[in-house]
């Protein structure tokens, strides 16, 4: 293909018997799969939460750097995380962290060779969703109790 600039696309571009070009989708492909299925939804959510967690690491680094820099820098971090935007961000990040962690455990179970049949995939998917909610609430109950005391 003249309009291909990527070696990886060599296997993804072909021609039908009538000569027309066919571009095969790369996996994971958001336009092809039904994103409301448990299988594809939990899969792309794992990737999205992983990317979001990577972004969240910036705040972790900021927090540690400020702690090392001294009381004034740390007070600024505390002011940010104590405010509306900071709390929303931290809460979202907590949910992201627990989703990626629990879905990661689900992946490790798959890697060990278990849980591939569709009923189990749906059951473990729901376990990840419910587990994320439980762990997020639990973390914030601990945080709010610590904050109040």
């Amino acid at each position: 293909m003249a309009n291909s600039h990527d070696a990886r696309e060599a296997m993804m571009i072909g021609r039908r018997t009538d000569g027309t070009v066919v571009r095969r989708p790369l996996s994971p492909h958001l336009q092809v799969y039904d994103m409301l299925q448990m299988t594809s939804f939990t899969s792309i959510m794992h990737r999205i939460t992983g990317s979001a967690w990577s972004f969240g690491l910036l705040f972790f680094v900021w927090w540690l750097g400020a702690a090392a820099a001294g009381p004034e820098a740390y007070a600024r971090v505390q002011w940010f995380f104590g405010g509306f935007v900071g709390v929303i961000l931290l809460f979202g990040l907590t949910a992201v962290v627990w989703y990626h962690t629990l879905a990661g455990v689900r992946h490790l179970v798959w890697d060990a060779g278990y849980g591939y049949d569709i009923p189990t995939v749906y059951r473990t998917g729901w376990m990840v969703f419910i587990g994320t909610g439980v762990m997020t609430v639990l973390t914030w109950v601990v945080a709010v109790i610590a904050w109040a005391s």
């Binding site: 690491l57 910036l58 540690l64 702690a67 090392a68």
Partner: protein
């Protein structure tokens, strides 16, 4: 299992014995990347449970308390592990995302290198911050 999937045997015969022993196909690197992702994820499991609940339990504490907490030997070691393994896992994961979505190949390679550099710099900065409070 193997006799139910004859294509596996067929495929194996098309590859050189050395290539089969090294476990690498056309990607040259085999399962190394995948395996490192799993190893780091298993190590991160207890670390993230420890970190999330420890820090949540310290919510609202002033600098004096947190700086002392970060600097304690056990906490500092666990934080250094979290930083090193966490940033390694982050790099491995983001690399796959880039390889899947960034075109053309040249741009994907540079994006991968950039992510690697950022992870290294941020990881070292975070680690140095912990060490500074610990020693």
């Amino acid at each position: 299992m193997s006799d139910s999937i004859p294509s596996g045997d067929h495929q194996a015969r098309l590859r050189t014995p050395l290539g089969r022993v090294r476990g690498s196909g056309s990607s040259k690197s085999g399962t190394h990347h995948w395996w490192l992702e799993r190893i780091t994820s298993i190590a991160l499991l207890p670390l993230i449970l420890w970190f999330a609940f420890s820090v949540a339990a310290k919510a609202g504490e002033p600098w004096e308390v947190m700086a002392e907490w970060i600097g304690r030997p056990v906490n500092a070691v666990l934080l250094l592990l979290l930083i090193a393994i966490g940033f390694h896992h982050t790099y491995l994961g983001l690399q796959v995302v880039i390889e899947d979505y960034v075109r053309p190949e040249r741009r994907a390679m540079f994006a991968g290198l950039a992510i690697r550099a950022v992870c290294l710099v941020l990881g070292l900065y975070a680690a140095l911050s912990v060490v500074r409070l610990a020693v």
